[in-house]
Every structure is written in C-alpha cells, then in structure tokens.
Symmetry: C2
Subunit: 335 residues, 2 copies
C-alpha cells in the first residue's frame, strides 16, 4: 500500500483546501491502494475532517504541532520549527513510513527541509523544480523552474536526467526526449553554460533533441529534430518564463473581457481555455534531485489542485521514481 503525506497546514486556504483536496482524491480513486497521511496539529485536522465525509480507514493523522507561515524566512523556519507539518511530513519518508510528501506551503521552507531531511542525490547542490507547462499538444516539464540560478553545464545535464525519469515514471511517457533552452537552434548559440551543456548532452546517451527556442516550448517540438517532453534551463530563466506565462494568460483574459465582453470571457469555450492554461490542473511541481518524492503545490491551490498533487504523489510512488533516481544517480556517481 502506498502512503502519501499531505501538509494540511500548507497554502493560503489551509487547512480547508488540503482536507477537501484529500477527500476529493480519495473519492476519485475508490481502490484502497493508497493511504493519505494528514500532517498537522491533530485537533485542527479533526475539526476540519468533521466537515467532510472522508473514510477514516483510508487516512492516518500525523501530529505536527508547529506551522511554518507562508511569509516566514525558509532556512530560519526549518532550523527553529523541527515539529512543523513540513518537517514531520518529510521525516516520515526518511523513516520509511511514507512514500511521498505534498505541500502547498512556503516553497522555500519545503525546499530547505527536503534538502536537509531527504538529502540530495549525488551531483546536486540544491534541488531543482520541475514545472509542468500547459502546451498545445501535451504538457512539457520545465526544469529548473526557479531553484538554481547561475547553473553549470553539469547541473543542466542533471536536470535533463531528473526530468526524463520523472516524465517517464509519473506521466507515463515512453522514451521521452529532452531539449535545451537556448536562443537559436545551432549548437554554437547560447550563453556559456548552455553551449557547454549542449556538448555534454550530445554525448550523454540521453534522448536529446538539441536546442529549443522560446517559441518552441509550447508546441513541444523543434522543426528539424522532433518532439520533446522536458525543457532544461537554469532556474533564473525558468522562473521568469513560468511567471511570465501565468501573466500572459491573465492578460488574455483581460483582453477578451475588454474586446469581446465579460460574458464571452465567462462562456463555456473560454472557461475551457482558461482551464487549459491553468497549470494548477497539473497539481504541483516536483522537487527533483532529492532522495524522495516531494510535490510543491501553488500557495493558492484549490481542493482540486491538491487532489491532483496527491495523485501525482501516488503515481511517483507506484512507479518507483525514487528507486529509479537513486539507481541512475548512484551509477552516475560511481562512473
């Protein structure tokens, strides 16, 4: 049985949204093949559970009396609050009592705690964030989406390895391919790290489609070299892109409301478009490079987004992502 731990105190609408998300996830998958571990102050969780119809035999309550606020300084919060829902939830995985951890809480604190508690795979200085992007044909994983700035070529290659394993195990992509974000298709285009990474990726044995330009990302393919599932870039560029994409969707919404009217913007076809563009439907971004499964959801996550994130955690555990990562990077470290 898979056990997935949920940070009940994480996110702007905690504890209501996480608990409702848990109820949705359990209702959507009636098979009893996973158990949700609700982590937080037990009395708070009990009060929230009283409002829902969650089957008690499919949940465990894990006491964690401390809460890390959304605006707290990450490293300090992790150092001083050893019994926070984040620390306790991740600690379960360390002790072999859990298979995945999901939080919509303070991203920096989750990253710092995951690094400290789960520890990093060989070759990584920090975890990377994999962010699923809504794309024309199929979602693409952008990695790193914000954790590592000033990346070396070797780090970019590491992101490629992490991303490829993730989309294979969790998204079920067979034989996935990776592209390197750059400013031209030719291998001599790009900044220093990108040009060096291109050479390393070419000889890495990974399925590498070459450089991907800004305009290619959302269409998941490069003209000459085929489709890709993962786009690799440093966390500076990745973070800028991700936030920019969100804001373009917001701008479109305003433009449609202004030019075609608020009714059009609220109509069914446009609801479908806004839903399509809402990356929350993917349920969260995996923290990659740690020895465990840790999914970071948006602070504004709805119950539906939390439920999606829980499903992501279940998939990662079901397909043995951690074992695959450990074995891949163990080999790499030996070689």
């Amino acid at each position: 049985v898979i056990r997935v731990a949920l940070d009940v105190m994480g996110g702007d609408s905690a504890p209501a949204a996480p608990v409702q998300g848990a109820a949705l996830a359990l209702a959507a998958q009636p098979e009893h093949d996973f158990i949700l571990q609700l982590v937080g102050p037990t009395d708070v969780i009990e009060a929230e559970l009283a409002k829902t119809a969650i089957p008690r035999d499919r949940i465990e309550l894990i006491e964690a009396p401390e809460v890390v606020g959304m605006a707290e300084k990450p490293v300090e919060a992790v150092r001083t609050k050893r019994r926070s829902s984040i620390a306790i939830g991740l600690g379960l995985q360390k002790e072999g009592k859990s298979d995945a951890f999901i939080s919509a809480g303070n991203t920096g604190a989750v990253m710092a705690a995951a690094t400290l508690i789960l520890r990093l795979l060989p070759g990584f200085q920090r975890p990377a964030i994999g962010s699923p992007l809504p794309c024309a044909d199929h979602p693409v994983l952008l990695c790193d989406a914000g954790a590592n700035v000033d990346c070396s070529a070797e780090e970019l290659v590491g992101f490629a390895q992490l991303g490829l394993l993730y989309v294979r195990d969790v998204w079920g992509r067979e034989n996935p391919a990776v592209g390197l974000l750059s400013i031209g298709e030719e291998e001599e285009k790009g900044n220093a790290a990108t040009k060096a990474a291109h050479q390393l990726l070419k000889s890495s044995g990974l399925r590498f489609v070459g450089n991907v330009e800004g305009r290619d990302i959302l269409f998941g393919q490069v003209e000459q070299s085929g489709t890709f599932d993962v786009v690799v870039c440093d966390g500076f560029c990745g973070n800028v892109l991700l936030k920019f994409y969100e804001s373009v969707a917001k701008l479109f919404h305003q433009l449609v409301a202004r030019e075609a009217g608020a009714d059009t913007a609220r109509s069914d076809p446009f609801r479908r478009i806004w839903h399509f563009l809402d990356y929350q439907r993917f349920g969260g971004a995996p923290l990659l490079g740690v020895r465990g499964v840790c999914i970071i959801s948006h602070g504004r996550s709805s119950p539906e987004a939390i439920a999606s994130a829980l499903r992501v955690g279940v998939e990662a555990a079901r397909h043995h992502l951690v074992q695959h990562l450990t074995s891949e990077f163990g080999r790499a470290a030996e070689a």
Copy 2:
C-alpha cells in the same frame, strides 16, 4: 529636414514590402519634414516604384548593388559585401548624409555592420536590442532582447541607460523608469549579475523601480514600487522571453479557434486582440549602443510594419536621440 534610409532589399517580402511601406509612411505624414532614402539596386527600386504612387520629391535613390541574404552568415556577409544595401545604408549615417537606418533584413548582418560602421558608444562590447512588448497598459521596452548573453552587471546598467533615453526620446515618456528582471522582488534575489546590477542601479541616479518578476512585465508595474517603462535583462533571457511571448499568442489563437470556432477567432473583437498582441505594430526594435539610429524590423514585416519602423526612425532623429546618447555616454566615460 530628416533623412531616413530604408533597406529596400531587407526582409522576406523585399523589395515589395519595403517600397510599399515607404509609400504608406509618406502618405501618413504629408508634411515635407522628412525624406526617405531607398537603398538597394537602383533598377530594382525603380521597377518597384513604378507600381506605387510615391512622390519622387520626397525620396532619394541610393545605389547599393549587393544584397545580403536572410540566411547568410552575418560576419562573412559584412566582410565580403561592402556594397550591400545594409552597408551602404548605414554608411550614409556615418558620412552625415542620413539620420536613421531601417532594415527588415538579416538581423545578424545589420548588427555586425552597425557595429563596424556606426561604432559603439563607450562601455559597450556589442549593441543591445531593445524590443517593444505589447503590455496591458502601455508598451514596455525589453532590453536586451537577444544580442548579449552572459552579461556583466555593468552591461545591464548600460542597457538601462540606453533604454531610458530611447523611451524618453522616441516614445515621449516623461521621466521614465527602469526595472531589473529577476526572480523575486527582494534585492538579494537573482543570479550573480542581477544582484550586482541591482546595487549599481540603486546608486546610478537612474529612476529604478527595483526588481521586476516575470509576472510583472506585461502589467508594467511592481506592486510596491510603481510603474516602469523599460525592463533590463541579459540577451539570453530576453530572447527566450520575446520568442515565448510570440508563441503564447499563437497558442491562444489556436485555442480560441478550437474551443470557440474559427469564426470567433476571425471576428472583430478577436482581430483587435491579435493586433494588440502583434508586436509588429511597433515597427521594429532599435539597435542600442551604436552611435547612430538603426531599427531592425522583423523579417516578415508587412508594409504597415515597415511604415511604423520608418516613423520610429523619424522620431528618433527628430528628438536627437544620437546626440543625447553620445553626450550621456561621453560623460559616463569621462567619469
């Protein structure tokens, strides 16, 4: 009288689009305060002129027998084709016979030729590309949009100075402000160059609103610190962003056609939206950091886009952009 040189052989639809663009620009501004210099093989220009009704007293024909192809290697093309429309057109400015140069031709070749012929302002290793972005409220200039990768903090500050002078002189923005693209509002967020640039910008005397995140760009403002007119970043990030933005607009078009139908996507409100998002309406991107006015238009520029670019060239000349740049950077070099 202002004289603006146009590369008649530049762009995918040359010579037709440039000559039609010239006709539009002259028709739109009936005052005789500028003269267009049409640069290219004179016989080709004459043949094209025969199809339009351009008043001959407002144009000059400048013979340039060689043509640089869109796919030619820039540096080689500039070295071997000294009598190309690009080289001759820029040479006019060098000789004091012209005030601006506009080309929809091979971007790399225009950059290389502008660097060689116009020369750079003190402190620059390469020119920077300023790219106007369609934004919610008012356009924002993104600089650098692709020419300089691996930028130093000093280069980023240079882009800020260039961009601010440009939007003041050409867009008529009074007391414009600049933001620094980063991954958080706090000054300690960002990569090494960005963090150092933040400190330099704070003490530069420029109107600096601080860090701007990806989500802020299109809304032209940062919550705490107010609105901005220019966003500064390295050319890697800028190029990725610019191409990504284009592709989001394309994706959105596909989504509207798919979900709401092709008729909706073609209806007037949506035509206005596609026009709003089409950065071609701004007519081109200034090459900044050279001792002259050089506007690069998209290779696919329509006659309307060429006409806009010509107007940009006229504005830059009318407001003495080059004199202001030379004096600002002359002072900086002395200090």
